[in-house]
């Protein structure tokens, strides 16, 4: 039986953590002297703080939560955080529009006005927030460079936090007594622990993430980015979110050096934190002994070469180097689920097979336990090896005792079946929701010559559900409302690996007697 009051306390803590994020953003607004944004940001922080504090105090101390409630907390918590995380976009946009006395809001015109003005629609603000927290990177903005600095920061900050996880943040700063933290941690699409204690684990994750953030920012600055750009792109690149503060993502810089400097940043984001921990301890052999990391580099090498070849074959670019530069960047961006673009919208220019190769990479994603979305490499490996294991089993007598080898583990038949089943269920659900969403988009979008094609739609849905953010040009503020809603759903389920959201929906349907 679902007890919704068991969710309230933890949801309140997540909202309190969100309000702390808003407080940090007020500081950014003050530094950039965007005083007109400060009241909107303070109100945006006070609302979740008030609701969160009410929930935590009214519903008493923490309780031990099982798998059911852990999943429901994760799913509903991410939804609520995205809802309240939309307030800065919404309130700052209205502040600029209404231009209240004494606040001295800027008088925006042209694309700047339409970019900020899009957030006066609460659905657009919610879309941006969900895209940010889930690390997707699809955006409702037209010209990111014209956004106020405080909103540029908020977009980067929510991707940075969302890359590691809202529950991981909450657990790190508001330590939760009891064993429920582990259940919540696992409900947020994480499994491996670095230390026996979950609180030590999440704090070590943040430690590694912070160190890599400083390094990423410094590397991008060295490659030629201005400091503010390096800070934002370092954060969104490492968290594999992909929001940019420029009008045309990384293509704006038109710099091979910056393109290549982003490779290690995105790749770091695609490697699991426990592997980072071991590598920083000096165990470099984990680059090839860890199954996911090995497969990640293998996919990167083969995929980048394949896309380069496909682009070169059709003379999409003027030279082989240019084909490699753009092809490899887009492939690394897709496989790491980052979503930075250097090739503009791929729709009109890239050949179909190259777009589908990128879509394939987006659906797979990189390592579980990192910051990426997608199905994850461990499941692809389990599925592939499991299929071979089943086929090879036909050639072996029944009396032979066999072991399924996976990532250094030897599993018996029952354990192997469980692993393969888990990978199969997630992959199956992934394809089902991908198909349904594609169908809905085909119904609501103009699919005709000169407009969008089927491969554009598959590309965009895969990008949303894989939390990637590469776009074939479909996503934008003028997109039909049903398309925005379906993308919101795709981003939400993609970040939590689908099942927690289905568990929450089933719980809600039961609660409100939808089945009767």
């Amino acid at each position: 039986m679902v007890e919704f009051k068991l969710l309230a306390h933890d949801l309140g803590r997540m909202l309190q953590a969100l309000s702390l994020m808003m407080a940090a953003t007020v500081v950014v607004a003050l530094i950039w002297r965007e005083f007109y944004a400060v009241p909107a940001l303070i109100i945006s922080g006070l609302i979740p703080l008030a609701i969160g504090s009410s929930l935590t105090s009214y519903f008493g101390g923490t309780v031990e939560v099982g798998k059911l409630h852990g999943m429901m907390i994760a799913a509903s918590g991410w939804f609520l955080v995205a809802v309240f995380g939309s307030l800065p976009f919404y309130l700052v946009a209205w502040t600029i529009h209404l231009d209240p006395a004494l606040l001295n809001a800027p008088d925006l015109t042209g694309r700047a006005a339409s970019t900020v003005g899009a957030f006066r629609d609460p659905l657009n603000a919610f879309f941006e927030s969900m895209s940010g927290f889930t690390g997707t990177g699809l955006t409702m903005t037209d010209d990111e460079s014209s956004l106020p600095r405080s909103l540029q920061w908020w977009r980067s900050f929510i991707e940075w936090i969302g890359g590691v996880g809202v529950i991981v943040l909450t657990t790190a700063i508001l330590a939760r007594p009891g064993s429920g933290s582990l259940t919540l941690y696992e409900s947020e699409a994480r499994e491996e622990k670095i230390h026996p204690s979950i609180i030590s684990t999440v704090r070590t994750i943040w430690w590694i993430f912070l160190l890599f953030t400083f390094l990423s920012i410094t590397l991008l600055w060295l490659a030629g980015m201005p400091a503010w750009d390096a800070i934002n792109h370092g954060m969104t690149g490492l968290s594999t979110g992909g929001f940019s503060i420029t009008d045309n993502s990384i293509a704006t810089y038109d710099s091979p050096l910056i393109d290549f400097a982003l490779f290690p940043v995105m790749i770091l984001g695609g490697i699991a934190f426990p592997v980072h921990y071991l590598i920083l301890q000096g165990q470099l052999r984990n680059f090839y002994t860890d199954l996911q990391t090995r497969w990640f580099f293998g996919f990167l090498a083969v995929g980048s070469a394949a896309v380069t070849w496909l682009l070169n074959r059709q003379d999409t670019y003027e030279s082989t180097f240019a084909a490699f530069r753009y092809g490899a960047f887009q492939f690394v961006s897709a496989l790491s689920c980052t979503g930075f673009q250097t090739a503009g919208s791929l729709g009109p220019k890239w050949p179909t097979e190259a777009q589908l190769a990128i879509a394939f990479a987006m659906s797979i994603g990189a390592a579980a336990g990192s910051t990426v979305g997608g199905i994850k490499l461990i499941r692809v490996a389990t599925f592939t090896k499991g299929t071979l294991y089943r086929i090879q089993g036909v050639f072996v007598p029944d009396t032979v005792v066999r072991r399924f080898r996976l990532d250094g583990r030897k599993l018996d038949d029952a354990e192997a079946a469980r692993e393969i089943e888990e990978a199969a269920i997630i992959s199956f659900l992934w394809v089902v929701f991908l198909s349904v969403s594609t169908l809905v988009l085909l119904l609501v979008l103009p699919i005709e010559p000169g407009e969008f094609t089927l491969e554009n739609v598959i590309f965009e849905v895969t990008s949303a559900q894989g939390n990637v953010g590469l776009s074939s040009g479909i996503t934008g503020p003028d997109m039909p409302t049903p398309a925005k809603v379906i993308f919101l759903f795709n981003m939400w389920i993609g970040r939590l690996e689908i099942i927690p959201v289905l568990v929450l929906l089933r719980g809600l349907f039961q609660k409100f007697n939808v089945y009767e």
């Binding site: 030590s200 704090r203 070590t204 943040w206 430690w207 590694i208 912070l210 160190l211 953030t213 400083f214 390094l215 920012i217 410094t218 590397l219 600055w221 060295l222 400091a227 503010w228 390096a230 800070i231 921990y277 590598i279 920083l280 301890q281 000096g282 165990q283 470099l284 052999r285």
Partner: protein
């Protein structure tokens, strides 16, 4: 005053990979990024940024060789 009374110093020292040099890289991170943002691009800041990234890579490689060779 004990430096660990500062929350960030305590965080850098206690949670990580149990290595003083890497903890120093963590502590230096905010200072390096602040320097780049406040002082702008110059020979000094370029050397600082290059040293921060370069020394980190060299140290991790050195630590890997030393550890994997054990």
């Amino acid at each position: 005053m004990n430096p660990e009374q500062i929350p960030f110093v305590r965080f850098a020292a206690r949670f990580g990979v149990e290595d003083r040099v890497l903890a120093a890289f963590m502590l230096a991170g905010p200072l390096v990024v602040s320097s780049l943002a406040l002082l702008g691009r110059s020979a000094v800041t370029s050397v600082l940024a290059g040293a921060y990234v370069g020394l980190f890579v060299l140290y991790v490689a050195y630590r890997g060789v030393a550890t994997d060779g054990e």
